[in-house]
């Protein structure tokens, strides 16, 4: 089912009472370094600390009372787990979250803090899916996939919609790409609500599946997975790839050093806490200055849920 402009508008109205309208920040000194006019949409200040609440809440609110009554379920070690837990708590139903046994304590605590029931599994995809299917069979909970779900993609599209409402004459938007939920939503939102906005993605060299899939047209695996941008390790789905191929101009790879340098810039110059995955678009802009020279460029800063013990490694 294609995602229409009207669907995104309806999703925005649906989730508005439950989310923050996050600020758009600018930074003169980063603009000077980039040689571009950058507008940062700060989803690190969003409810649950990340944009994922948009898709998660839209999916939960799209369920019928009968579909919703037994709660919601998902598998995630990251922000989507918190999003579904928060959405369920807000709507007064149960959340069942399958998390790998290796999940950081800080993430487990956050999900538990929203009252979700956590099931631990072995840290691989098959174990996740098996544990989830068992829970869904036992409880009748509604499964909401982290990104391979049109309700989730539609919800994520509301982020760029807000950005465009504020900065009406953007030339370009750059989003990070992991499973492609945010990127495909951003591409559709930019097409429907913007005026000729070119959409780019940033992807770590250490999780370079999307750039390969984008070229071949089929979902590829990354040659290797090793990056501090831990929110971007997943591969695209057929659905997100198809939207991305049609609506995204290019996927720009960035190095780990580039991610670290961009992360340092955001902490030092903007004085805000963001996840490494967030700064992949900024790293892409800094690596491709000619492409963005003088352009009004929107950047989605996706979230700020960091494990502070990682700072030593990131800022060594």
């Amino acid at each position: 089912m294609p995602i229409t402009k009207e669907a995104i508008e309806k999703a925005h109205e649906r989730i508005k009472p439950f989310i923050h309208r996050t600020p758009v920040l600018t930074c003169q000194s980063i603009n000077k370094i980039a040689g571009a006019e950058l507008y940062f949409k700060c989803e690190n200040f969003q409810k649950i600390g990340a944009f994922k609440i948009r898709g998660g809440m839209n999916a939960a609110l799209s369920l019928t009372p009968d579909q919703l009554k037994n709660g919601v379920a998902t598998h995630s070690s990251g922000n989507h787990a918190q999003a579904m837990a928060f959405a369920a708590q807000t709507l007064g139903v149960k959340a069942y979250i399958v998390m790998p046994s290796t999940s950081p304590k800080v993430k487990v605590d956050a999900v538990r803090g929203y009252g979700a029931e956590i099931t631990f599994c072995e840290p691989n995809q098959a174990a996740r899916e098996e544990a989830l299917q068992k829970i869904v069979a036992e409880t009748g909970a509604a499964f909401v996939h982290p990104y391979d779900d049109h309700r989730v993609i539609t919800g994520q599209a509301t982020c760029v919609k807000e950005l465009i409402e504020e900065i009406t004459d953007l030339d370009a938007v750059v989003a990070p790409v992991g499973g492609g939920g945010l990127l495909s939503g951003t591409a559709l939102g930019a097409k429907y609500f913007g005026d000729q906005i070119t959409v780019f993605a940033g992807e770590p060299e250490g999780a370079a599946d999307a750039v390969l899939s984008f070229k071949s047209g089929v979902v590829e695996k990354a040659p290797f997975v090793k990056t501090i941008a831990d929110g971007l390790m997943t591969a695209l789905s057929t659905q997100t790839l198809s939207i991305i191929q049609e609506n995204v101009k290019d996927i720009l790879l960035v190095s780990e050093d580039g991610i670290k340098a961009a992360l340092r810039l955001v902490y030092e110059r903007m004085k805000i806490v963001v996840e490494p995955s967030c700064v992949v678009p900024l790293a892409a802009v800094l690596r491709n200055k000619k492409l963005f020279e003088g352009k009004k460029t929107g950047i989605i800063l996706t979230g700020g849920n960091v494990d502070l013990s990682k700072f030593a490694e990131w800022f060594a």
Copy 2:
């Protein structure tokens, strides 16, 4: 010369074109932990990354053209150095900054980035003052002390003025205390612009001079100086002590563990980058919950100029 309400109003008009109107942020989860309604005035987002630009700019703008023409001079290893350098650059005059030879490279680079001329000296007070006197004698530059200067105190008072304009019914305000420039300005601003606001200070146990001076009525030294709140290591002056004794309710000591816990809260929950000195007021509120229970309490977050290599120590 007493600092009047009118003087603060004039200072505010004077510096407005050169500073940011910083946002006031709230955080539900920290409110829940504190049992109070906290309003954070975010001077980490201020020009030069700290409130010090208010006092420094007000002092520079208060000079006559003849006093200003040979530039400005100060000794500081911290944010006041950046403030005077930025003020001088903005007004098109020279800045001469005496910095201890042990100053972190990141601070030296920032001051140099604003075009100031740096003179290094041995890291002690006598060497600082000697180097400064020599520069002033040679250049005719106007000396602006970091806090023992009524123009600086008047400038710092504009911060709480803005906070009160936004949150009109505050019960209390808490500021950190080092040399007392911000605290005395905050106390005067709260008295003139607020409605019965009680002013408290937070001070590290590892730099506990102000609490002793406050009790004895004379400027005392700290029993020992060892704290991660490196902006608060200086002692009061006779001038700041006198204003503080008259207008501040109490000075609340906090432990190093308390500072680290508050720092973690601000990074994790508010997603903003602040200096350890900033969170001393929050640590004081969390250590004295009964005092602030249910109270609308303003907190000045003083700055965000951090050396990222310190994160490993702070968040160990």
